[in-house]
């Protein structure tokens, strides 16, 4: 690894031993050294890179728990025999799997083993003079010479002065220079492009930096999701999140206290183009944020424009409707009143949700509902939403009574209802039509079990104006990643390193002046590429030309 990385001879395989030669026995240390050599060789690096590329493929073929947990559940449901087999070889967690980690850790070990000695070598090279001029420059790949006869040579010029001119010229164009003298004549040896190797080392070190920063950042950060309905607030404590994923080194102290209220959620839909009618154009969440003891600050969160607040980035990832429903039980008491977020099922925001009323007497009540912001009828008679905005809002409910099973202590999905232990009293096979409501309407439940009201939140609106009758919710993603800045820093360093390591040519150039026996001077110019250097020929020619001009002038 003493040559620059992109030199052809940089790290070739050792020539295979001649057959018949017994090799010395390797001890433990010898084997350790052998494997280290193998690991840090460029061939191993290439093979590991190819392995890494291949090993990444399965992660795009099967759903991953990290990016698509529901996909994994779905896959289990569809392939009950295959899924556990795939799971055993970690095909649902490819990027944290043993085998994927092994490849990239070996790769990074190989990288470190390569970068360290090269850094030492480069530091030494930066402090040493360019090497002695070869005796026979004509053997180099790029060589040219000119001969000045005695008559062409101005009186004040000799080998020393021409070489001094060459030294000054090369130095001025950024070369490191050293003068040498051999039996044939005086020469200047010059080298440039050290930044190529520097950039290369910076690039590879930056990759290690990215890996470390990503690893640590994931450990100290956290992500959480929260659904906030218009008019409601969110407080940044762990219990307030709908779901919360802490990093390995997370402590509650990382949660900065603050409060956030969703004042209003605006959605704008396409109205002009008939082809795209109803497509979303803009979503804006208007929020107010409070730090402890501070005054509220108004701000907005948009889809590509998160809010940075309280050490968090707050993203707007989804939205929908949260119909406000009031349930009175058989005794006429209000057993439930709240805005319940319904999950959108299609682009026109046909949404489904579940309402649980554990406080209803004499029996607990539950409802499974569909909400249509702009209800329209299919030819089958079923309802569907034909526009995502509130033009003709309709809420349909299937009602159940019985025991909700909440006392068993088993956690239940708030968006799904298990009808076990419940009796359907409206909709479906119950013999009673499903409840159908528009904002402001109330319907009595059968058997005197009470009533349901679909409350409007804009009671003063004009007749037929439903635009604000149902509250919307925003689904917020809240992230804390303290290492993000570090990752960006290393990435920028890596790019700068990459650019200089790919595009700065490293080359050696020699100019030699040989005094001819019959008087006169032969000037020799030669160049040697160290790594990719397609412009070497031109560069040596240009140096020779400029030098000849300065000598003749």
């Amino acid at each position: 690894m003493s040559r620059p990385f992109d030199h052809i001879d940089g790290s070739g395989p050792q020539a295979p031993p001649e057959p018949g030669i017994t090799q010395p026995k390797l001890g433990i240390l010898g084997y350790a050294r052998f494997f280290w050599r193998q690991l840090t060789s460029m061939r191993t690096a290439i093979v590991l890179l190819l392995f890494l590329a291949i090993a990444a493929i399965p992660g795009s073929m099967w759903p991953q728990r990290s990016s698509d947990p529901n996909g994994v559940i779905q896959f289990y449901a569809n392939n009950p025999t295959l899924a556990p087999v795939l799971d055993r070889i970690q095909l649902f967690d490819v990027y944290t799997s043993v085998w994927f980690s092994a490849i990239y850790l070996l790769l990074f070990l190989s990288l470190i083993g390569c970068v360290l000695p090269r850094t030492l070598h480069h530091v030494r090279a930066l402090r040493t003079k360019p090497p002695r001029t070869p005796i026979r420059l004509e053997r180099l790949a790029v060589f040219q010479s000119t001969t000045l006869t005695k008559s062409e040579l101005p009186a004040e010029l000799n080998a020393a002065t021409t070489i001094e001119a060459a030294r000054a010229q090369l130095r001025a164009s950024g070369y490191r220079v050293a003068l040498f003298e051999d039996a044939k004549g005086l020469s200047v040896s010059a080298e440039r492009g050290y930044l190529r190797e520097t950039g290369n080392l910076v690039f590879h070190t930056a990759l290690i930096g990215v890996l470390v920063a990503v690893g640590l950042g994931g450990g100290f950060g956290y992500t959480g999701q929260k659904v906030v309905v218009e008019g409601q607030s969110f407080v940044n404590i762990k219990g307030a999140y709908d779901s919360f994923t802490p990093g390995r080194f997370f402590t509650d102290a990382a949660l900065q206290p603050y409060r956030l209220t969703l004042d209003e959620f605006d959605a704008v839909y396409e109205e002009q183009s008939l082809r795209a009618y109803g497509q979303p154009i803009d979503y804006t969440a208007h929020v107010t944020t409070w730090l402890p003891g501070g005054k509220g600050t108004k701000s907005t969160i948009k889809v590509n424009d998160p809010l940075a607040f309280g050490g968090n980035q707050i993203y707007l990832l989804g939205n929908g409707y949260a119909p406000k429903v009031t349930v009175r039980d058989g005794k006429g008491n209000i057993a439930f009143t709240a805005s319940v977020p319904f999950l959108p099922q299609d682009a026109n925001l046909t949404s489904t949700g579940v309402i649980r009323v554990p406080d209803a007497l004499p029996e607990q009540l539950a409802f499974r509902g569909f909400f249509y912001p702009t209800a329209g009828q299919l030819s089958s008679g079923a309802l569907t939403s034909i526009h995502p905005d509130l033009r003709n809002p309709v809420l349909t409910l299937f009602a159940y009574s019985g025991d909700l099973g909440l006392d068993s202590g088993i956690p239940q999905n708030v968006y799904a209802l298990d009808p076990k232990g419940l009796t359907q009293i409206a909709g479906g096979d119950s013999g009673v039509a499903a409840i159908e409501l528009q904002p402001g309407q109330t319907v009595d439940l059968p058997d005197g079990l009470g009533s349901v009201t679909f409350d409007t939140v804009s009671p003063d609106a004009a007749e037929g104006d439903w635009s604000h009758s149902v509250p919307r919710f925003a689904s917020l993603d809240i992230h804390h990643d303290p290492a993000q800045g570090w990752v960006l820093l290393f990435v920028i360093l890596g790019v700068l390193g990459l650019l200089s390591s790919l595009f700065i040519p490293r080359r050696r150039v020699w100019v030699k002046a040989v005094e001819l026996p019959k008087g006169g001077l032969r000037l020799e110019y030669a160049g040697l590429a160290r790594g990719e250097d397609p412009g070497l020929d031109g560069a040596v020619a240009a140096i020779a030309e400029r030098h000849a001009l300065s000598v003749k002038a």
Partner: protein, 334 residues
């Protein structure tokens, strides 16, 4: 207004496709002529008078006015590798047609952009339109640096397929940009990705010719005589490397710009979404290519195969992954 521009765009695109077909035909004819003009000298001694006359005629057609048939033959034989054996009329015509088609192509993209009211690369059709245009643009502008016209058949054929399939199979009417795509990162990220794709595409073309040339130089492929008029394998390898390295830098920018956008839009800079996975795979493959170029035993044919596999992954990412894999990079209207 938008509708009018969209229809202008289609007219321009279909015209460009027609002219690309012509350019493709002329480039292919040029390859045929290269084969004819590059009859091997030892074969020439044996050929009968009639076929020699044919060679003379064909070569004479190619030759510029002041140069005779023999001169052309000799020139080709002496300097087969410099790639500057200009003066082929077919090639000149084909190149001019490509330039014309490209102007129409760009006009099509511009009209589509005007119709959209935003950059024309927000769905599969528009991405096909722009990426094929950039491939041809890169091919045209690389001529100022090196004569790569011998890739004309490959480039025009490629552009024709991408543009044709994109327009015929994936055409969508103008629609507003959904909130998820409303970001200046759309402009940067996607545009740089197409630039990277274009350079990888040209590099892959050079690598293909390099592999053929290597076989021919090893005397295992005597059939494709037009190769004799193209640069030697080593020169091709160097050219491919220099083109691909530029592509690699663009791809690195794509990866980074994509991460920054992902951080803004989805709240994480890297989440192993299918498209992210494939962008990463492509990056790693070309990193392997660059290392292979610097390693004895991996130069030449092996690194050329790596370049081809890398470009194959680009094509796979763009077609199969877009159409059949589930992920966050869903194209609107696809």
């Amino acid at each position: 207004m938008s509708e009018t521009f969209a229809s202008y765009a289609l007219v321009a695109i279909y015209s460009a496709m027609a002219v690309y077909v012509l350019a493709f035909v002329f480039f292919t004819l040029d390859l045929a002529q290269r084969s004819a003009a590059n009859q091997k000298p030892k074969g020439e001694a044996k050929v009968d008078v009639a076929s020699r006359a044919t060679i003379g005629v064909v070569a004479g057609q190619n030759a510029t006015a002041e140069r005779g048939a023999v001169g052309v033959l000799e020139r080709d034989r002496i300097a087969p590798s410099d790639g500057r054996t200009g003066g082929r009329r077919m090639e000149r015509v084909a190149f001019a047609l490509t330039a014309l088609a490209w102007i129409l192509h760009v006009a099509g993209a511009l009209f589509r952009g005007l119709a959209d009211g935003h950059v024309p690369w927000s769905n599969m059709f528009e991405f096909s339109l722009v990426s094929s245009g950039i491939v041809v643009g890169v091919f045209l502008f690389l001529q100022f640096w090196q004569d790569l016209r011998f890739l004309g058949t490959y480039i025009t054929g490629f552009a024709l397929v991408v543009l044709g399939v994109g327009t015929v199979n994936f055409y969508v009417p103008v629609t507003p940009l959904p909130p998820a795509l409303q970001s200046y990162w759309l402009v940067i990220h996607v545009f740089v990705a197409t630039l990277g794709t274009a350079f990888f595409g040209v590099g892959a073309g050079l690598s293909i010719v390099q592999l053929l040339q290597t076989r021919r130089e090893a005397n295992r492929l005597a059939g494709l005589r037009f190769l004799g008029t193209m640069p030697g394998a080593e020169k091709l390898e160097n050219l491919a490397y220099r083109v691909i390295v530029v592509g690699f830098v663009f791809w690195t920018f794509t990866l980074i710009a994509g991460s920054i956008w992902a951080e803004r839009a989805w709240g994480r800079y890297w989440g192993w979404d299918t498209k992210e996975v494939w962008t990463f795979i492509i990056w790693v493959l070309f990193a392997g290519y660059i290392h292979a170029r610097a390693t004895r035993g991996w130069r030449g044919t092996r690194s050329a195969w790596l370049a081809l596999i890398g470009f194959g992954a680009v094509a796979f990412n763009y077609t199969i992954v877009n159409l059949f894999f589930k992920g966050l990079h869903v194209y609107s209207g696809l």
